[in-house]
């Protein structure tokens, strides 16, 4: 295998990595917000169930969760799981990352002083207006560094998809390395991940800077 073929094969794997990464973010960033609302629900059973969900998502390995999402429907209900691999991967990643994002959002919301809610109430804001116009913009600003951390972790966590035979860049690197008895594929994979994460960090940094409207 020439270096060129190796590079183009792995670039194909990188595309699949990026696809999984983008779809996971699109799903889990909003879902995390929904989870926070459920967790803060006044109706206690919903809050408890949400707590259990977060505990399971954070307390078990993501690879195990992927296997459960994929094989679960078959072992529990005897369903036909043909063609369900990629949806199972997406569900697994989104559900897992939503739990982490939810906790990050909660840390931001809880850090807001009570005085702001009181002041908003006196000024005649509804609860919805208070949250959307006063609280949320500040929360987003505060939690951005933590979100960046989590997003960078996600780029690297996509390699766990190989558990369900998803040919992302790291499992390709392992396969090519084994068949060519060469370490080069790992170096290439490392560079791919680094460049992707550098890009993520750069974009997040730009967003952070654009929000420093008081400086």
């Amino acid at each position: 295998m020439t270096f060129g073929t190796m590079l183009s094969t792995m670039a194909g794997g990188m595309l699949k990595t990026v696809l999984l990464f983008v779809l996971t973010l699109v799903g889990s960033l909003p879902l995390g917000m929904l989870v926070v609302f459920l967790k803060k629900s006044k109706f206690k059973p919903i809050a408890w169930i949400t707590d259990i969900y977060i505990a399971i998502m954070r307390g078990t390995p993501l690879m195990l969760q992927l296997l459960v999402w994929y094989f679960g429907p078959y072992y529990l209900f005897g369903m036909n799981i043909r063609g369900y691999k990629f949806p199972a991967l997406l569900i697994g990643f989104i559900m897992n990352y939503a739990a982490y994002f939810a906790e990050i959002y909660r840390s931001g919301i809880d850090s807001m002083p009570v005085g702001q809610y009181e002041a908003a109430e006196i000024l005649g804001y509804t609860k919805f207006q208070t949250f959307m116009r006063i609280i949320l913009p500040q929360v987003i600003k505060r939690i951005l560094p933590s979100v960046t951390n989590e997003v960078i972790t996600l780029v690297k966590d996509t390699s766990l998809a190989s558990a369900l035979a998803y040919q992302e860049v790291f499992s390709l690197a392992k396969q090519i390395s084994a068949s060519q008895t060469s370490f080069m594929p790992f170096v290439i994979a490392g560079i791919f991940y680094f460049v992707a994460n550098y890009l993520v960090a750069w974009i997040m940094n730009r967003i952070e800077k654009s929000m420093q409207y008081y400086k």
Partner: protein, 265 residues
Amino acid sequence: MKKFLAIGLTVLTLAMLLSGCTAKKDGKVFKHGFDLDYPPYSYIDDNGEVGGFDVELCKAVCEYNGWTYEAVPFNWDAKDAELNAGNCDCIWSGFTRNGREDDYTWSMSYSDNTQMIMVPDGSDITTLADLAGKAVGVQTATSAYDLLQDSEEGQGELAATFSSLEIYDTYTIAFNDLQAGGIDAIAIDITSGNYLMSSTPGYHFLDEALGSEQYAIGFRKDDTELCEQVNTALQALVDNGTYDAIGQKYPEIYEFLCLKPATAE
């Protein structure tokens, strides 16, 4: 108080490190590198301990040569890195020599092996040609995988007719997926396949084999002396019946063991 604790811990750690060093000095330690999930050659047995035909045979070789046995289980993808880094002395885990002749110093072949296609009973697949348009699973970096990737000498052209070739980290997951109906067939070594089928009925091999090959022990290219010592020990174990005795414990691979006592040759 904390300071004393810190000093105490440091001394203790150093003592442990030193004693670890001295323990290794008496007698050679033979580091057996293998895949922990490759039954019946190497796996975790019912007691939660390292077991399998290769593990037992390796222990017998160590005993014969007066070496201390050390198990080095690794991730199959990382076998070359582990060997070249010196973390293990050999790769001995149902390791196919065919197609890798120039990459390692090889011991004598101790087991034959064939790659087969495994399908559920009642499947409409009866020949290799029927696999066209089907989803086939294989474990990464195995000989069956290599065979399906190789278009010149292997079955690469056949693999091109599959609707997809799903590449798993372990055969355990691939077999789960076959049971669950996620794929139609698995390409697998006959011995590993027999092991999976022995615990789960309802599956069979196609009559047509995918390919055939031999298992041997792979050493680093410059380790010819070590390889010779293992070869000598292997032949002695074959002659004194130990090889046969260990083989009988593994009925699913017994018929494939190919070493014969020296007098019989």
